[in-house]
Amino acid sequence: MGNDRSIRCFLCRCHGEISRVIDLDEVARALKSHPGVRSLDVRNSLCLEEDMDVLASRVEDPDATGLVLGACSLYARGDRIRTALEEKGISPDTVEVVDIREGCSWIHHGQPREATTKAIDLLRMGVALQRHRENPDEVMVDPVREVFVLGAGPAGISAAASLVRLGVRVHLLDRAKSPGGLLNLVKRIAPEDVTSDEYLSQKQQTIFASNGGVSHYPGAKLISAHGSAGDFTISFSSGKTEHAIRVGAVIVATGAKILMPDGLYRHGNLEGVLTGIELERRFKAGQLEGNRVVFIQCVGVRDRKRPYCSAICCIVSLKQACQVLDVDPQAEVFVLHRDIMCPGSVLEKYYRDAMARGVRFLRYEQDRPPVVLGDENVDSVEVYDALTSEMRRIKADLVVLSTPLAPHDDAGRIAELFGLNRDEHGFYEVRTLMHPLETKREGVFVCGSARWPVLGRSAVLQGEAAAMKAYELISRGTLAASRLSTYRERKFSLARVDHEACTGCGNCVAVCPYDACSLEKKEGALKSTVNLIRCSGCGSCVSVCPNGSIQLPGHSAMAIGEMLKAVCEQGS
């Protein structure tokens, strides 16, 4: 196999950075006689326009010529050379940049002879790879300029409002009857101290004044989701009608549920033991009885079963503590905590303000939790104060349990529908490091508390960020599949199946980390098929294929074999 491109080599002196260590004359001699190499030039700096023009002028027929450049690493200038050559009409698939500076002359400066031998090997490997590099498969995708937003909480509403302002049609689906998500349960929102209506009114106005730019489906239920980035088909039922829509990107903003304490601290058995959200209900109804209130933090969280910090409960309790003081300035408010988490300038001020207003903080230890005392009503709370090492008994009319946010019960079903991973706690998983909204599935973005418990302000921020991500995907017109994702910075080689050789064993289907491989019936037999939009070119499938029928055209087993041979050619 392989292509019959004739190879033109160019070596870069890099103004001495390479040639000072590596004997380029010797490299040139060794390579000129190498089979397949048609010409070889040594230049001063391949990355400068002047040399680049010479380089391009030597390529008469871009399809029949392969370039092997001995220069610096891909991360230094190598990738930029390839991009610049692409602008001159030379496909990156025909250009091999062999790193002989960072990877050779700079790390072997004390051993010029060995470095020269190594440079010859590396360039021969480059020639071998280029001669066996086949053009990758490519599909063009014309993304549908519509976006599906699942969940109409602060994150979903912000995403929808941002997108509709950009002229994108949005389908906003929510299982609740009215938008707002968890914010609807709350009287005032921390730390902004506004009501939920005030909080979201501007964005809601944008949505509902958009003249049909946003189709809002309240009380709807998701049925199925198919397709891949650029073209998803989603069906759901709203009322008695079933809808099926086509969208280019999906934003999952399903939020989280409030965990109930499950009998902890005698909740449900003793009058006066409430959860935070039950207290909100009393605030809303304006019926707060009793002026001695004890908050207990970290209820059912930061333990072995849920070893995460829900990040919002401290702020919520501080807000509620201050609200109790608003109702009755003489109230006695205690917050029993394990740590107070109020990061950043705004939230730290919130904490200091609560302290200044007389909220008292008391630290307890995880293995000696507070005990709620009382027969019919709450009487007091007994707690071991970790800082003074004393048992304390605090008189109380109300005990408020600060429970965390936890993943929705149907998060598993939604993850399955969209092909998302979930982390150890059950929240949707995002890509590692620099891709905080992108998921395993291209074109599906996660924001808000579905990803991790966040305050309203962070949910809004993430919703708007997810909207931008979705817009980036759908706004650029027709794209090659390998350029579809913002996640892929470089052009990849996508997997290709030889259908004659494929036995349909399904190994590739089992290992593909992107669900790109599937078995389909072709001429009576099951054959592996690759969804090129989902494929990211990692090559997992290649290494488990029993007979090599699935390959990365740009980096085939044949090419690697030839590269290995090239390493051993010299001195054996």
Binding site: S73, L74, Y75, A76, D99, R101, E102, G103, C104, W106, I107, H108, H109, G110, Q111, E114, A115, T117, K118, D121, L122, M125, N421, R431, T432, L433, K440, R490, F492, S493, V511, P513, Y514, S536, G537, C538, G539, S540, V542, S543, V544, L552, H555, A557, I560, G561, M563, L564, K565, V567, C568, G571, S572
Partner: protein
């Protein structure tokens, strides 16, 4: 199991490790960036290793490792992202398991399994890359080359597999 060179009757005294060749499969997301970092810092390294960049180490099949040994290479290093930090949804975890399974098989055909080296690190850990390469190269340098018997045995075995 020890390796013995049975190529030729006459024993050559050569510089320790000279002529040994080592191939490094480095993933372009972490190990290759680490290699690049080591280059930028101009850390002096032994010149016996050759890097083959791969998109992800999950691309490196057992066959590629075996083929390296049969074509005359004395050490193979597979270097990828931290386990749990793979850019391809944990594909490197599966690869790590596969390579561990390969090691005893290498031992059975007379190729010391220490000749297959795996390491997982992040992109900015150039010092880790340099240190791993340095120790692996010196380890391979202290070992004799893979015996010609092992090379031809494995070659014959894999040729038989292809003919069947």
């Amino acid at each position: 199991m020890t390796d013995r060179t049975e190529d030729s009757g006459n024993i050559q005294v050569v510089l320790e490790g000279a002529g040994r060749k080592i191939v490094v499969f480095a993933c372009t997301w972490c190990a290759l960036i680490g290699a690049d970092g080591a280059g930028k810092k101009r850390i002096s390294l032994p010149a016996t290793f050759r890097v083959i960049p791969v998109e992800c180490i999950s691309r490196v099949e057992a066959d590629a490792v075996i083929r390296a040994f049969t074509s005359g290479i004395d050490g193979v290093a597979v270097m990828g992202c931290h386990l749990g930090g793979c850019r391809h949804n944990g594909a490197n975890l599966r690869s790590a398991r596969k390579l561990e399974l390969l090691k005893p098989l290498l031992d059975t055909v007379g190729i010391d399994s220490r000749r297959l080296f795996t390491s997982y690190g992040t992109a900015h850990e150039y010092h880790q890359f340099a240190q791993a390469i340095e120790s692996f190269c010196s380890q391979i340098g202290e070992m004799p080359p893979v015996s010609a018997w092992s090379r031809s045995f494995v070659r014959a075995m894999s040729a038989r597999g292809e003919n069947e």
